[in-house]
């Protein structure tokens, strides 16, 4: 629980980038991937993402947990899409090439499969960068980075506070639930929803109320040490930009431009091979 966001400290070019620039890159990349459905671009982005993983010296086992969740998630998502609208591809691409005829609307069409390919590619190029960012950025740098890219330092600091107190609150949740059980509160492990909710709230109330008292103490401590008196503040954990930082940001900027340009040229977000 100490390393919830599994930050993995390894000497690598990606690790050496400052958190702020990595954050900028992540945002640019995400937008680029989100806005475009231009299949070749998605393929390129996916490949790039994999290359970056190698650069960051990340091994599969480092991220096996998150990776497995991601795969399960992608699978489920596709199954659902198919169940709810097996002909979505047909609508999108305006043609219908049946490969395997099945009863009802559920015939398998090339268009639908191609659409699913797009969905998968989209996940495959939006998700890894996030994992990459989390694994290569020291949590201490999060807040400093946010502030660096223009988020007000007060809000940036609330992110830092969240990271600081997550382990404490986790531990407190644990202890409170035990203390409550010791005093006779029944915590049935059955998945019965109402039961679970009742049990949860017997812990929740002390947890939330003590957290609200904690809010008092912490804000007192912070004000006593002069938080919030100035317009700006500096960060112990911040790191100066290097050429590499600028380079990477420019590169991601270009990716975004490319994606927008392609959408424009293609006259529509969907790359259509069936025309």
């Amino acid at each position: 629980m100490t390393n919830l966001f599994n930050y993995i400290d390894r000497p690598s070019p990606i690790h050496r980038l400052s958190g702020a620039s990595k954050l900028v890159c992540l945002l640019l990349w995400s937008v680029a991937a989100m806005t475009s459905f231009y299949t070749p671009l998605l393929v390129v982005l996916t490949v790039l993402a994999l290359i970056l993983f190698r650069m960051a010296k990340l091994r599969v086992k480092d991220v096996s947990f998150t990776l497995s969740i991601m795969l399960v998630y992608i699978a489920l998502n596709n199954i659902l899409i198919f169940l709810f609208s097996p002909a979505h591809g047909v609508e999108l691409y305006g043609s219908r090439t049946v490969l395997i005829p099945l009863p009802g609307r559920y015939s398998i069409t090339a268009e639908q499969l191609f659409y699913h390919l797009n969905v998968i590619l989209k996940n495959a190029c939006t998700i890894p960068p996030v994992i990459l960012f989390v694994c290569t950025t020291n949590p201490s740098e999060f807040a400093a980075s946010l502030n660096r890219i223009g988020v007000s330092y007060r809000i940036s600091y609330s992110v830092a506070l969240a990271l600081r107190y997550i382990p404490d609150i986790q531990r407190e949740y644990h202890d409170i639930s035990l203390a409550q059980q010791a005093r006779g509160v029944e915590m049935s492990k059955k998945a019965n929803l109402i039961h679970r909710l009742k049990a949860a709230s017997t812990i929740l109330i002390p947890l939330v109320l003590s957290s609200m008292e904690r809010i008092e103490t912490i804000s007192n401590a912070m004000e006593l040490r002069g938080f919030g008196k100035g317009k700006k503040r500096t960060w112990y954990a911040s790191r100066p930009f290097t050429p590499a930082d600028y380079g990477s940001m420019i590169f991601c900027g270009l990716l975004l431009i490319a994606s927008l340009a392609l959408t424009a040229i293609n006259g529509g977000r969907f790359f259509n091979p069936f025309r």
Binding site: N77, F84, S85, A160, A162, I169, L197, A200, S201
Partner: protein, 183 residues
């Protein structure tokens, strides 16, 4: 933008941490992916009422982002934003309906629950799907189904957990000059 008090900064931080812990370790997964029977929305509704719309929005935003970070299924912007919107709307409705969290009564609870249901539907049936359709180009009917699931589930948990929190909190509030030693 108006300057926050240090207290609301801390409230946002701790609130997000609570939201995270509940969402990450307490929530009960439901059959539909990416939608949980999640206790944290009861908390969010409550905190939004106490600390106001801006705090509510940021708690939802930061908390949800961190959850997505730690699960590693990518940041699901549409849903993150929906959470933020829920916090925002809850905070606003508290202001509009003049809910007094310090001594919330029957009327207060009714107001609280009516508004929370409305806000949930707005967030999960409107905001989330619209964004998904644009960003992921996913089919409507699937998204609506997802949204409905999430909306209802969250409204239920909020009704139970949120209301309990409001009542408990009101009880800690002491009226001025009310404390004197008795023997």
């Amino acid at each position: 933008m108006k300057k926050f008090s240090v207290k609301s900064i801390v409230a946002i931080g701790i609130g997000a941490a609570l939201f995270f812990v509940l969402g990450r370790f307490v929530s009960i997964p439901s059959p539909v992916p990416n939608t949980n029977i999640s206790v944290q929305y009861g908390l969010l509704a409550f905190l939004a009422v106490v600390y106001g719309p801006v705090a509510g929005a940021l708690i939802g935003f930061i908390g949800h982002t961190l959850i997505d970070f730690s699960f590693g299924w990518g940041i699901w912007w549409s849903w993150v934003i929906a959470s933020a919107v829920f916090g925002l709307l809850m905070g606003l409705s508290a202001k509009v309906l003049k809910m007094d969290e310090a001594q919330i009564g029957k009327k207060g609870l009714i107001k609280f629950n009516l508004s929370q249901v409305v806000c949930h539907l707005a967030s999960w049936m409107v905001v989330a799907p619209v964004l998904d359709v644009y960003m992921m180009g996913e089919p409507w009917d699937k998204l609506i189904a997802q949204g409905l699931m999430a909306g209802i589930a969250n409204a239920v948990t909020t009704a139970i957990v949120g209301s309990l929190l409001c009542v408990a909190y009101a009880a800690t509030k002491t009226k001025a000059g009310s404390l004197s030693k008795e023997d």
